[in-house]
């Protein structure tokens, strides 16, 4: 698999001047600062002169079909099950995935993109079948800083984040891992997250796009094409935070 810049799709890609960021079910899936991923995408797009429209879709609303980037966040077991049930009924996310929209999903949102995941009693719950993977409940929670080497085909620096989940995820043949774990738990088999086309899923919050601006820019690039780098003063705090977290993990590594 290669990371060629795909054809542009969605409202922005069709020539509309505004990039549409769709946050799916913030009322159910927003637990670990998930708004941060939305705010960082917005900030980094605007600094490149791209207009941004935020679309927040609650669980009682239909998922709009005209978005450019769809975000799903983390959630507890019961909200996750409810979200999966409603998204299956709605069908919108599945449809936009089929037309090649960008989807970025974290933790519970990541799990429900697969074929199934583990519920609060460990029962299997049907997912959206957007990613070829299944998740279950592990023996113990993975909680702490995580460091991962990104799949070389994506050409990004190391991922730093925080994970807090009890999920174990096994990929099928239809997708690649997002990264390999250096420190932490991730999918539970040494890999972290999943990547297929323009769909990315990860256990990292932190929120992950805050600490990994390269990943945020990759998602924007998939919609808007090549982006100029940001000026140094626009990156200074992000870079300092990133360096500090990388050092902190290095200091505790075995």
């Amino acid at each position: 698999m290669t990371a060629e810049v795909p054809r542009r799709r969605g409202a922005h890609a069709r020539g509309a001047s505004t990039l549409r960021l769709v946050w799916v079910y913030p009322d159910l899936l927003s637990t670990y600062g998930d708004r941060g991923n939305l705010l960082i995408l917005q900030r980094r797009a605007r600094l490149r002169g791209i207009e941004v429209e935020q679309v927040l879709v609650n669980a009682d609303q239909a998922v709009p079909r005209q978005g450019d980037i769809y975000l799903l966040g983390g959630g507890e077991d019961l909200p996750q099950i409810l979200a999966a049930r409603r998204l299956r009924g709605d069908g919108g996310l599945r449809a936009v995935a089929d037309r090649g929209a960008v989807i970025f999903a974290v933790c519970a949102g990541y799990q429900l993109l697969g074929t199934e995941f583990g519920g609060e009693e460990g029962q299997q719950v049907a997912g959206l079948e957007i990613l070829d993977m299944r998740s279950g409940r592990g023996d113990r929670r993975g909680v702490g800083e995580i460091l991962a080497e990104v799949n070389p085909a994506l050409g990004l620096p190391r991922l730093t984040g925080f994970e807090n989940h009890q999920g174990v995820t096994q990929r099928g043949r239809g997708g690649a891992p997002l990264a390999g774990v250096l420190t932490g738990v991730g999918n539970g088999d040494g890999t972290e997250g999943a990547w297929a086309g323009r769909v990315l899923g990860t256990y990292l919050h932190g929120p992950v796009l805050v600490r990994n601006p390269g990943l945020a820019d990759l998602l924007l690039t998939w919609v808007a094409g090549r982006l100029p780098p940001l000026a140094g003063d626009a990156e200074q705090w992000t870079q300092q935070l990133r360096d500090q977290r990388l050092d902190a993990v290095a200091a505790t590594a075995p």
Binding site: T31, Y32, R35, D77
Partner: protein
């Protein structure tokens, strides 16, 4: 109080001695270590110490320590000793220590960690359980809140004979309390909605209007209330209106006070008796006090989670009054700082904002995304030196707050 069995008496005595040693060694107020040793000697110590007393338990994500203090103050009107874990040691050992230290007190007001409430209800057979609010907090070590609510609900349904005083404006609290036999509902308000958009009964979206909340699909809705917080006033269970006029600032403390009044009434202390006592409470473990530092006034506010920060913003002096934000991520704070992104900092635009603490870079990136100008400082004194004006409000999370207290306690 009845006679303690010999083993429990020995456990409290040895526990008390360890507490004294711990205090002398300068390790905290010594209340926890005493309880730990006592519980190791007698696992049923908490239950034995509770026998024969009338006990009030207070729990919730925010406001536990303050509400415990307010209820204790109000029950002072009865003229009897009241045991309390006033310093926030709110797990089993802290509770055992508080009861052991006041072995003759017929009343006890105990703040309880959210996770321990079911076990403590079982052990202490309380007369009143007070439920304040429930929202995300230190999720790297705490249980998920829907799960907490479910455990409370089961424990309260089984606790026959006890009164539950609960905030009807918090849907998750209402769900947890509604299985109980006797509930006194209080309209104490809710400003943080991010953890209660959905019905705990069926998962559908909750509808909100000026009358409260209700589920769009099932029958779950806000219960009608006997006590109401109305701005700075309280409407009591008899429908009488009184000005609160507390010394403690902010709407969160007005909520806490109304809950305290409802609890006090269960013990026969009416609003007229209780209110003057609530007004006498001016500071809770260093919070809200105004100190003078290098010719400027500094006020400390503690905020440990997104809902707490929202309430702290409500207490700030009006803009452009300067503010120092300090965040750490040690174990007691939660090691995960992602919650900073759940707080809306845009309300700080137009103020002079300082940022400090071990995780000040996380704050810097967060404020930058909300277009809030700020200056990084090493500590409270650097902020005090740069303040435009005469006062500085400080909002800090747990260990950052303690560090600033220590810094301000040192000679200039």
């Amino acid at each position: 109080m009845g006679k303690l069995p010999m083993r429990a008496r020995l456990a409290t005595t040895l526990g008390g001695a360890a507490g004294t040693v711990s205090r002398l060694a300068g390790r905290g107020d010594g209340s926890v270590i005493g309880g730990v040793i006592g519980l190791r000697l007698e696992p049923d110590l908490l239950a034995l110490l509770a026998v024969g007393r009338q006990i009030v338990l207070v729990t919730g994500t925010n406001g536990k320590t303050t509400t415990t203090r307010l209820i204790t103050a109000a029950l002072g009107a009865l003229g009897q000793d009241v045991a309390s874990n006033a310093f926030g040691a709110n797990m089993e050992a802290g509770l055992a220590a508080a009861l052991g230290k006041a072995s003759d007190a017929p009343l006890a007001v105990l703040e309880v960690d959210e996770r321990y409430l079911p076990a403590v209800i079982k052990a202490t057979n309380p007369r009143v359980v007070t439920l304040l609010n429930l929202s995300r907090d230190q999720m790297d070590r705490a249980a998920e809140i829907w799960l907490v609510a479910r455990r409370w609900r089961e424990a309260l349904a089984a606790a026959t004979g006890c009164w539950v005083v609960a905030n009807a404006d918090d849907p998750l609290i209402a769900w947890a309390a509604s299985g109980a036999e006797h509930v006194i509902w209080v309209a104490a308000g809710q400003h943080w909605h991010e953890d209660s958009w959905c019905c705990a009964e069926c998962g559908s979206h909750l509808l909100r209007d000026e009358l409260g909340w209700r589920c769009g699909e099932c029958t779950f809705r806000r219960p009608s209330t006997r006590w109401v917080l109305d701005g700075d006033r309280v409407i009591d269970s008899a429908g009488r209106l009184s000005d609160l006029s507390l010394s403690l600032p902010g709407r969160a403390n007005r909520s806490n006070a109304v809950v305290a009044l409802a609890v006090s009434e269960v013990f026969g202390v009416d609003t007229a008796q209780a209110l003057p006592r609530l007004r006498d409470v001016v500071s809770i473990a260093g919070r809200y006090t105004r100190l003078t530092r290098r010719g400027r006034t500094v006020r400390l506010l503690l905020a440990k989670n997104p809902a707490g920060w929202l309430e702290a913003f409500d207490v700030l002096d009006p803009p452009p009054a300067p503010v120092l934000l300090a965040v750490n991520a040690q174990v007691p704070d939660g090691k995960d700082t992602s919650w900073l992104w759940d707080v809306d900092y845009r309300v700080l635009r137009g103020r002079q904002v300082f940022v400090s603490g071990e995780r000040r870079l996380d704050l810097a990136v967060r404020l930058e995304a909300d277009l809030v100008d700020f200056d990084l400082v090493e500590g409270v004194d650097e902020a005090v030196d740069q303040v435009e004006g005469t006062s500085l409000d400080v909002i800090a999370n747990y260990t950052a707050f303690q560090q600033i207290r220590v810094a301000l306690g040192r000679a200039e």
